[in-house]
Symmetry: C2
Subunit: 428 residues, 2 copies
Amino acid sequence: MNQVRVGIAGFGTVGRATVEIISTHRELIAQRSGVRLEVSVVCRRSGVRKEDTPPGSRSVSDWRQLVAANDVDVIVETMGGTREARELLLASLKQGKPVVTANKNLLAEHGDELLALAASHNLPIGFEASVAGGIPILRVIHESTAGDRLRAVQGILNGTANYILTQMERLGIELDQALAEAQKAGYAEADPSFDIDGLDARDKLCILARMAFGGRLNVSRIPTCGIRHVRAVDIHSANRLDSTIRLVGLAEQTDKGLEVSVRPWLVSRRSMLAKVEGVNNAIFLVGDKLGTQMFYGRGAGGDATGAAVVSDLIEIARDLSAGRLRAKKVSGFLDPSELEICENPRPVSWYLRLTVKDQKGIVARVAQVIANRDINIDSLEQEPHLPKDRVSFVITVEPVSEPVIRDAVEAINAFDFMVEPVLVLRIE
Amino acid sequence: MNQVRVGIAGFGTVGRATVEIISTHRELIAQRSGVRLEVSVVCRRSGVRKEDTPPGSRSVSDWRQLVAANDVDVIVETMGGTREARELLLASLKQGKPVVTANKNLLAEHGDELLALAASHNLPIGFEASVAGGIPILRVIHESTAGDRLRAVQGILNGTANYILTQMERLGIELDQALAEAQKAGYAEADPSFDIDGLDARDKLCILARMAFGGRLNVSRIPTCGIRHVRAVDIHSANRLDSTIRLVGLAEQTDKGLEVSVRPWLVSRRSMLAKVEGVNNAIFLVGDKLGTQMFYGRGAGGDATGAAVVSDLIEIARDLSAGRLRAKKVSGFLDPSELEICENPRPVSWYLRLTVKDQKGIVARVAQVIANRDINIDSLEQEPHLPKDRVSFVITVEPVSEPVIRDAVEAINAFDFMVEPVLVLRIE
């Protein structure tokens, strides 16, 4: 049986889980795939303690040693960050070594450069683990798009934000409390911005959109709004509307180009999106022939992400030992054309939550702004018994296009009675 | 660009959809996969009319001509049935031609023989389309099981039965009406037994279980009960229990072996299974590391099934044109050990619906049968104002194991006041 030696760069949650899965399932993997995976070297800048070093492997503290090592056939990058991770991947490929990474940030920012270099060396980069943890969504898209034309990719891409929204819903707490709790449970980082401001979801959506539709897409061009400004009152209002709130990434082909955004949505309780709770992810694909498909599972965590890393490793190891290692044709990243993006061209319904210092005539003035733009109000509710300096009210409106609602929201935000900007949710 | 010539055996819904997809997406497929698919020959026993023959291809009426044809590189079997389909596959493989099939019945009954022959000729058989239409569940299992140990596969595997249950629920109609409607809409065959007696779901579960757990499993050993005896009163009672009814296939590893069954379940409205409506399918995988994943999409229909056929065709065509065609290691079918199957060893809750000729003391006698076996009744309801010769009542019981409930049901069925056997639903 062919043995393939793996070097692991970065020894945090995902790195350790990867080592653990390879060790626990070594026989199963050998039996099923015909290759024997061995972790030969682990690398961590601050060093790996002797008792933490996996049996049969050695540790180094500089990733350059890992890249240069004669006893490493394939490299797993789980360091995180983009600067050093990028250097590691470039060096590995130049050294002729295929790489597996779980780093969505790296792919979203430097995917073009890395995959072009991989293609020129005819080496694969495995990055299934970079999106949606253990859900094999990139493989599915790769295969779906081979024979069908995809129209839309949509989903809940960030488990931490979804966990926070679910907890707010279950416990009736504010975002700060739910966030603190998520941090205590290990689901959120000390700096939560990446998750709650939608940046993590944006990186993943960027990768998904490129895989699905083919072409370049600068991640900074994706309009992104996280859940930072969602309050308990919104969850409460959503509930009254038989709905809940989810952070949704959407990329959809329209007549005018690709509509792409990350933002919180108001979704019906009856929808599948609402059923996605806790740290889970769900991704919908819509294809011409395949119709709507949905893929659901744990979106993060060492085990699920590690399992995705191992699935990439097995594919590479099989090809390596059969002497037919080659760059995977990842058309979305090698196509030099730019994806043309556009605003949502179709009218949709919207949820607006205003927080105001109470005074006479507010409702009339807001209603006038809305009426002036030919927007129909669908529902309006002001919570009773709130302190006068901070009154929330919620308006839902019938379908209008995004520029129209934005114009109305800008006008409302300009009123002096507004305590904070309007929270805008797209209604499913 | 390499051209791969496809011969289609059987020119019904799936065969036509396959031709249509290849023709519509020829450029897309060429661009994405680097191969050009051409349908060179179509075969139908009763002949293909000139105007139906795809441009650039010819038609034959005997599949032996298709197998022997010099201008066919790969064969698609969409004839259905098992006798001739089996002969076609055997002949194609012996001729050195890889095959793609959507025929679950064929795979469930003759999978061992066919895949063994394919392995001995080092040729692939693509059968992704045989289970769950366009959902690439076999690929996902193949990859998941390479690096993780699966514990359970569960799902809604028959779109027709699910459509009938959904229509009964929406319209409050009886199964006969819903079935007639499904037949009119083209979702059910004239002989509906395959769908409503669970046989189609059983074949698919057999393939899934073998792929997931590896080993032989004779399809006739899977305890199977369809939806034929589900009535409007059951849907109504389910609704009262905030639930609905779904036909579920389950294969789960337990301490005692593999629990495997196809039967109707009572599932909570809040569950994901309940959200699967109409002709859709959904499959849950539970893995040690991957946790619970769910894959959802159109389970049948020419387009979805045709798209799955084309995805297999593309994979084979790529390998063929790169000169590295080989048998796919489908461990579940090549492992000669027998899967050890067992009854559900854990206590679960049950729903029993009795239909009786009304007389005094029925409830007391039934309750005594249940009490004698130490089973606790959770709820009991008798619909008011029913005709005396046909009264339904519904009992739900707290968790007990399957042999215990079966023993109770047998005793109840023996009473002379029973109009028909008890309908038993497993509660999720």
